[in-house]
């Protein structure tokens, strides 16, 4: 995984921790986000935050298709050849 994917992963951990009001150290990047109680609809909120952060346009369902932070970071890294 590239450096930017690592950065993204770190940023996503921070975001997810803040949604859940948890310590980032408690968030595993390989666990499905729904397991943490982030429901199907909350994925839309996260999608909006990612769009703002990366200045990209994503399908609102991106976190339905990439369910862990690892999968999401990898997918976002492949977008637009960044």
């Amino acid at each position: 995984m590239s450096d930017s994917a690592d950065d993204l992963r770190g940023w996503l951990v921070q975001r997810v921790a803040s949604y859940l009001e948890k310590d980032p150290a408690e968030i595993s990047t390989s666990v499905s986000l729904t397991k943490y109680g982030l429901d199907s609809v909350y994925a839309f909120v996260m999608c909006g935050d990612i769009e703002d952060h990366l200045n990209v346009t994503l399908e609102p369902t991106v976190a339905w298709d990439y369910r862990t932070i690892d999968a999401l970071a990898e997918h976002l890294d492949t977008l637009g050849g960044r």
Binding site: L20, S40, Y42, V45, G48, E51, P60, T61, W64
Partner: protein, 545 residues
């Protein structure tokens, strides 16, 4: 010739689709089979099918008018017949061409279709659904029960939401087009009709599958795409529901007006009493506001499909609720007449009051729709700062003389990235009221109190969006306060719809209409506007009658 004329005089008991017959069917809890066949004969099913698949559906505002026309006579018939649209709409949204062609042919031929989403113990919680479609070579095996399904027994076609991944989740469900005619009798059981408070004649039942074989070609959209397709299709059906409500509102007002114009008490007509005039004037304002919201939604399907996740949620949460209130207010004017079952057009009022209760419940109740709005607060707050995302689309939507173009059933999305152009256009619309150019100056002659009301609406809208911007979505539970914000949003949307439709269509309605409509909206947003405008609106409707 228009549909209402073709259907004949509903007050004549010899007419097939009459108040008398609908009342009798209601008493017997019997499905209006013959009336639906008549609607088939008149070509209504083809109106549910997009032209690209061989039907005659090119214009959603027109379809809404047809639904309203039927609902005005009888909601049970409208709910029972229009179900074929709900049963097939997922195919228009996500099905392949061949699949859509086959479904279109069936629907046009009058084959009833239904939509199997809810289950006995899960209601609106679609992701808890237990009906399983287990992948096997060449297709699926379906097991489990769907319950409280309109047309589950009558329908030959059923768009079924089923769990294709045992772990579930938003990609764990798929939509399957079940054709009962291709199944064996042992593959499924239709469940008994469920007795209901209203729409007593409708086929509200269920269906249980017993390891039923379904071919792979039955998939509507991709495997795992079920929830997404359903949420997009609901944007259309939630808009259609507003047509049912408007039809009920028409009949409720008609009954209240007819009675109060003839009934003499204490030496004068009821319609001469100040309280009666005000109540009826307010009912007209309420219906006008509901119409404005519905018009925006129906034209929005064509002009701003990517914003329909917001527009349809507002419409479904707002219009049926306002019409329930309107029916209650008209019922008070009718007094005991609202309660009798055999007189006054065969008790049509008490029937519509019972029947209409279901409209705010099905296809997502207010909580479900307001939840959908709450989830979009971030984009709504952001969008408000930047104005309409698609200005030309909004202009096309608002200009009632402009053709909207055929509907693009693939244009829907689960989150409106651009927010809501209508609400985001309010600032510019209000600014335009005081623009110095000549045309505006001429218009200002007729503004009356509209400008003051519009500024007040904008102030409410500004305050609301400041609160929306400060709202931090909570991942685990939605606080009750968020629903209050969503309701205020609905009222702001409604006010924005009235004002901008009126401004975009000079000569459409006398200024008393937006004045009364904005008064109705502002009163509910916490202002205390002068309600005497409802009396003037009542007089205006009398003069036109």
């Amino acid at each position: 010739m228009d549909l209402d004329t073709l259907l004949g005089d509903p007050a004549d008991p010899d007419t097939l689709f009459s108040y008398a017959r609908c009342a009798e069917l209601d008493r017997r809890e019997e499905f209006p089979e013959e009336i639906c066949r008549e609607l088939d004969r008149l070509g209504l099913p083809a109106r549910y099918v997009p032209a690209e698949h061989g039907g005659t559906l090119t214009d959603y505002p027109e379809l809404l008018d047809l639904i309203r026309t039927i609902a005005r006579r009888d909601l049970t018939v409208a709910v029972g017949h229009a179900k074929s649209y709900l049963g097939s709409v997922s195919v228009w949204v996500a099905g392949g061409r061949a699949q859509a062609g086959a479904v279109a042919a069936d629907v046009i031929a009058g084959v009833p279709a239904s939509w199997g989403l809810t289950e006995r113990t899960h209601g609106s919680d679609l992701l808890a659904g237990e009906v399983r479609a287990t992948p096997v070579p060449g297709g699926y095996r379906v097991t489990g029960e769907k319950w409280l399904i309109n047309n589950a027994t009558r329908g030959s076609l059923l768009s079924l939401l089923a769990r294709t991944d045992p772990d579930g989740g938003p990609r764990g469900f798929s939509l399957l087009l079940i054709d009962k005619r291709e199944l064996d009798g042992a593959d499924y059981t239709c469940l008994p009709k469920v007795p209901t408070h209203g729409i007593r004649g409708a086929d509200i039942s269920g269906i249980a599958f017993h390891d039923a074989p379904v071919p792979e070609s039955a998939l509507i959209g991709p495997e795992g795409g079920g929830l997404e397709v359903v949420l997009k299709a609901l944007q259309l059906t939630r808009t259609i529901c507003a047509g049912l409500s408007l039809g009920a509102a028409d009949q409720a007002i008609r009954q209240a007006e007819g009675f109060t114009a003839e009934r003499r008490l204490y030496g004068r007509l009821l319609s001469e009493m100040p309280h009666v005039r005000r109540t009826l004037g307010e009912a007209h304002a309420a219906r006008f506001v509901a119409e404005a919201v519905t018009t925006v939604a129906a034209r929005g399907i064509h002009a701003l499909p990517s914003e329909m996740s917001v527009i349809s949620a507002v419409t479904k949460a707002f219009v049926p609720a306002r019409v329930d209130e309107l029916i209650f207010a008209c019922g008070e004017l009718l007094g005991t007449r609202a309660f009798l079952t055999e007189v006054h057009d065969h008790g049509v009022f008490q029937k519509l009051a019972r029947d209409h209760r279901v409209v705010s419940i099905f296809d997502g109740n207010s909580f479900v729709n307001e939840n959908a709005l709450i989830n979009q607060f971030p984009v709504l707050a952001r969008g408000y700062r930047s104005g309409p995302a698609d200005g030309p689309g909004l202009s096309r939507l608002l200009d009632l003389s402009a053709a909207v173009g055929g509907p693009d059933h693939s244009g829907f999305t689960l989150v409106s990235r651009g927010g809501c152009g209508l609400v985001q256009g309010l600032q510019a619309a209000v600014d335009g009221l005081s623009a110095p150019d000549a045309e505006r100056a001429r218009q200002r002659q007729d503004l009356g109190t509209v400008e003051a009301r519009a500024r007040e609406l904008l102030a409410h809208c500004d305050d609301l969006h400041a609160e929306l911007a400060a709202y931090a979505p909570n991942p685990r539970e939605v606080p009750p306060e968020a629903f209050v914000l969503a309701q205020r949003y609905e009222w702001c949307f409604a006010g924005a719809a009235v004002l901008q439709l009126w401004l975009a269509n000079p000569g459409w309605k006398d200024q008393v209409w937006p004045e009364a409509a904005l008064t109705y909206v502002l009163a509910r947003l916490g202002s205390n506007p002068d309600r005497a405008i409802f009396d003037r609106l009542f007089d205006e409707t009398r003069e036109r009658a």
